[in-house]
């Protein structure tokens, strides 16, 4: 089992969701986040006083999947989120030691799907 965490551009969320649904990945958690990578921040001005802002708005996806879904999920996220510009985001894959469905108490890969 793997936990896939992806940081994407907020305006690409609908595309990524659509791509994931097409890849039969229906379960995810989405949160608002701030982040910075190679994409440089920008400066904001408040009453004439300039302020550097280096954290930009991002959307964070968390998706827990069984091994055979790892590659299709990664491909789907790339398909939905890629524009070729800096700031497209990143996908992290971590191993997931355990997964439990709260309602039934099922564990492991049965609980994920």
């Amino acid at each position: 089992m793997k936990l896939i965490i992806a940081m994407i551009q907020p305006h690409k969320l609908p595309d990524v969701k659509k791509a994931l649904f097409e890849a039969d990945v229906h379960k995810m958690t989405v949160t608002n986040a701030l982040g910075c990578g190679q994409q440089r921040g920008f400066s904001e001005t408040y009453r004439g006083v300039i302020t550097e802002v280096n954290l930009l708005k991002k959307v964070r996806l968390e998706i827990a999947v069984n091994e055979e879904f790892v590659e299709p999920t990664i491909k789907a996220i790339i398909r939905g989120a890629k524009t070729g510009n800096i700031g497209d985001g990143k996908i992290f894959v971590t191993t997931l030691d355990e997964c439990i469905r709260i309602r039934t108490g099922e564990k492991g890969s049965a609980a994920i799907g």
Partner: protein, 409 residues
């Protein structure tokens, strides 16, 4: 003789000016970090409650009852003798109580303006004591000097139509003093402290702008041509101020901002206040345009250079605006607009400019010294500033045990 139209107009204006304090609460509330917005709202609404009672018990008497050149007498304590008959000294066509409650709204918003200077770090208990003492020892005397019968600045011939000196300079100087003595917010200058909800600030500006018609036009105390003049120039100066600030930013920083535009509108409004009953429409345009120029310089250049933390620019916008407006009266005032006023420098009377300068300096000096003493006394007795830990947690939770926004749900 009570005039129904005048009475209706002044009562309505009093309602409009009352709305300015909640408007100010949102104007300021949007500028602080979200852990402190309730602290700001609480201070504004508390001023609304506390100063109303202070005004009724003794504030009105100290401000407007016949007395010495410095203070009003005590004969109107508890509104004794302030009835429904007109008082010819102030407004001959409306009940005396209508004048009293209209003036009460001015007494409320003035200490509320100072909140911008010490936002995000003052104890609520200290604020409570400060606002009562400041209203009594600073607002009431200065109000009497300029507007009360027998007040020494009034006798001198100082013109302040709707409170540029009494309200904006007075509160603005007090703001500078409190910002200096309470010290900077933790991390100020080290990290940016951006406003948390600029839509609230824009909403607050809308309420302030709306209420300002009551503030300025209502100061005619009658539904007459003078009130119309004040109404018209108020709108013009606010518009010129907002546009001017936006263009300054556009030119200097590359983009016009909503925060700048609303700040400019408020600067224009504060600046036209003392002049609203003495100048015509075209001088109002000039006043509005330059209001933003001066306030922008104060906020964007002078404040960072001197390093004081006037957190929400109560001094930079209100005091600078009030000073410029009060001096502008000395330039632009015309008897053609208001026969009860005087001519300014541009209409051949240089003397008026000198009188206006005396009014500005005397008020600024008194407010500076008196505010400093009041602050130091309160600090010695109960302490003014919250602890560092409470400042990190935010005033909402630390001082009021409630939160403005939930993170979850």
């Amino acid at each position: 003789m009570i005039n129904a139209g005048d009475t209706a107009f002044v009562l309505l204006s009093a309602g409009l000016v009352m709305l300015m304090t909640p408007g100010l609460a949102f104007f300021y509330g949007g500028m602080v970090r979200r852990k402190n917005i309730l602290g700001v709202l609480m201070q504004c609404f508390t001023a609304l409650c506390v100063i109303t009672l202070q005004w009724v018990f003794f504030g009105y008497s100290l401000s407007f009852a016949p007395g010495t050149g410095f203070w009003g007498g005590l004969q109107w304590l508890g509104l004794n003798g302030v009835g429904l008959e007109p008082n010819a000294d102030y407004a001959g066509t409306i009940p005396h109580q209508a004048f009293m409650i209209y003036q009460a709204m001015f007494a409320i918003i003035t200490p509320a303006l100072i909140i911008g200077a010490f936002a995000e770090r003052m104890k609520f208990s200290a604020f409570l004591v400060f606002s009562i003492l400041w209203a009594t020892l600073v607002y009431n005397p200065v109000c009497h000097w300029v507007w009360g019968v027998g007040g020494w600045l009034r006798n001198l011939g100082v013109l302040d139509f709707a409170g540029g000196i009494v309200v904006h300079i007075n509160a603005g100087i007090a703001a500078l003093v409190t910002a200096l003595v309470i010290g900077k917010r933790k991390n100020f200058g080290h990290h940016p402290i951006p406003p948390h909800n600029l839509p609230f600030t824009a909403l607050g500006t809308g309420l302030l702008w709306f209420g300002w018609f009551g503030f300025n036009a209502g100061s005619a105390l009658a539904a007459n041509g003078l009130a119309v003049n004040a109404f018209v120039v108020t709108q013009i100066a606010a518009a010129a101020g907002g546009l001017s600030w936006a263009f300054i930013e556009w030119y200097l920083n590359g983009k016009p901002t909503i925060f700048g535009t609303v700040s400019g509108a408020v600067a224009g409004l504060a600046t036209i206040t003392p002049a609203a009953g003495f100048v015509g429409p075209i001088p109002a345009v000039v006043i509005g345009l330059f209001a933003s120029v001066f306030c922008y310089i104060a906020v964007a250049y002078i404040k960072p250079k001197l390093g004081y933390d006037d957190s929400l620019d109560a001094f930079g916008v209100h005091c600078i605006g009030g000073i410029f407006g009060s001096l502008a009266v000395g330039f632009f005032a015309s008897k053609a607009i208001n026969p009860a006023g005087a001519d300014g420098l541009f209409f051949g009377n240089a003397h008026q400019l000198k009188i206006q300068a005396i009014g500005v300096l005397a008020t600024a000096a008194y407010s500076f010294i008196a505010t400093f003493i009041i602050y130091k006394v309160i600090d010695a007795v109960i302490g003014v500033r919250v602890s560092e830990k409470e400042e990190s947690l935010g005033l909402d939770l630390a001082q009021h045990r409630e939160g403005a926004y939930t993170v979850l749900e």
